[in-house]
């Protein structure tokens, strides 16, 4: 029902188009050419001004704003990237420094160790020398003593035997004969007593 009335009204409106030029009431006002020139004129005027102002003043500003924002964001990203790179290089630098100092410390330690070892060796050598010398000395002394001791023993033996003989026999015996006997004995048993 509503649709029917609606379409009827539309239909009648189109039907009345023919009469538009004759009778202005009814019909489509759009097809009344009375104000066509005026509408064209004002359209050109307003749209022309709108176009000129938009294209010359406003749109460049908006595009500049957008560009500015884009470039600013880009710049910020670039700055962040740069800072990241610099911090990375600094980390590398620090790593290098740490590595270097570690190496240095190692070297110093090594050097010190070597020095200490050298010192120790030197001292050891000196000590060894001294010890050797002392040993030599002692050996020499021992050798001397060894050499001397049979004579002394012989002497003692001679003296004792002369005293003993004197006491036993009651007469002095020629010392030289006793000496010969002791010497003979000691030469016979020398190997037994001293090992040489």
């Amino acid at each position: 029902m509503i649709k029917k009335i609606f379409f009827q009204s539309i239909f009648f409106n189109f039907f009345l188009i023919k009469e538009v030029f004759a009778a202005e009431s009814g019909g489509m006002p759009q097809l009344n050419p009375e104000f066509w020139i005026s509408q064209i004129f004002w359209l050109i005027l307003t749209f022309g001004i709108l176009y000129l102002v938009l294209s010359k003043l406003i749109l460049p500003k908006i595009s500049k704003n957008l560009e500015l924002r884009k470039s600013q964001i880009q710049e910020n990203i670039e700055a962040a990237e740069k800072q990241r790179e610099s911090s990375e290089s600094k980390i590398k630098e620090y790593d290098e420094i740490i590595l270097k100092s570690k190496l240095e410390a190692k070297n110093i330690f090594k050097e010190a160790r070597e020095k200490v070892l050298k010192d120790i060796n030197q001292k050891k050598e000196v000590l060894d020398k001294q010890i050797n010398e002392e040993i030599k000395k002692a050996e020499q002394e021992i050798a001397k003593l060894k050499k001397e001791s049979p004579d002394k023993i012989n002497k003692i033996a001679i003296e004792t035997s002369s005293v003993l003989v004197k006491k036993l026999i009651g007469a002095d015996v020629n010392n030289s004969s006793i000496t010969a006997i002791v010497d003979d004995l000691s030469k016979k048993n020398g190997n037994k007593y001293y090992g040489n």
């Binding site: 539309i10 097809l31 009375e34 104000f35 004002w42 749209f47 001004i49 176009y51 406003i58 908006i62």
Partner: protein
């Protein structure tokens, strides 16, 4: 008298009659709404472009979103070659959109519901696109009427059809917008009239229709502006990148 749904489209003179020669260029209600539309666009976009803040405020965000919307639309349909025509298409889209939207306010006048206005816009676009096409490609632009890969037997028929379709572009473009706006506003007026005539008892049904139609018409207002702009882009694309 308010019952006639077509009275809303009537143009009447505001102020004195102005004449240049034999032409009547008086200031009318249509002119008034053209001026209001242009001023509204200029004020809104001027406010939206004045501040150079990195974080946009609401109006700036709106201006920049419409800028990128139109720019993306042109880039998608006509390619990067259409960049010099960006401001024209932007103005066109905004003008049609604001005219349509202003028409949705009760007791206002819809500029785009007049065939002469839409036809002038469409004719300007048609002539401009044709001139651009001939300037870019010379007589090679006529290749537009000869699609590739068509059997020679069918060629005469196809060429005639292509020429007719090309010549009817301004008509289809203007009538599409004009008829949509007029039909929508007429329908709303008719349903509004039913609310009055059916009164408190039966008026609720047409009233609910009217409310629904208002939403639909706002959608149509945006959609028609978009279609108008995108068809302009497509015609421009034909002229700029000839790929028949």
């Amino acid at each position: 008298m308010a019952a006639n749904p077509m009275t809303q489209f009537e143009v009447y003179r505001i102020g004195p009659e102005i004449k240049i020669g034999t032409f009547d260029i008086s200031f009318t209600n249509a002119s008034l709404f053209m001026v209001i539309t242009s001023l509204a666009i200029l004020i809104i976009f001027n406010l939206g472009s004045n501040k150079k803040s990195i974080l946009p405020n609401k109006i700036q965000l709106m201006a920049e979103l419409s800028y990128t919307f139109v720019s993306k639309m042109i880039n998608d349909t006509a390619g990067s070659k259409a960049k010099p025509y960006f401001s024209f298409i932007f103005s066109l889209f905004m003008f049609v959109l604001f005219c349509n939207m202003f028409g949705m306010i009760p007791y206002t006048f819809t500029v785009t519901s007049h065939i002469i206005v839409t036809f002038m816009l469409a004719a300007f676009i048609f002539i401009g696109v044709t001139i651009i096409g001939f300037m870019k490609h010379g007589f090679g632009y006529l290749k537009l009427f000869v699609p590739s890969g068509v059997p020679i037997v069918l060629l005469p028929l196809i060429i005639v059809i292509e020429i007719i379709s090309y010549l009817s572009r301004p008509i289809s473009l203007s009538v599409r917008l004009f008829a949509n706006m007029m039909a929508g506003h007429t329908m709303m007026k008719v349903f509004g009239g039913f609310v009055i005539s059916l009164g408190i008892v039966g008026g609720w049904l047409p009233l609910s229709f009217s409310v629904a139609l208002t939403g639909l018409e706002i959608l149509v207002a945006f959609l028609q502006a978009y279609v108008f702009a995108i068809l302009t882009c497509i015609y421009l694309n034909d002229a700029l990148n000839l790929h028949h």
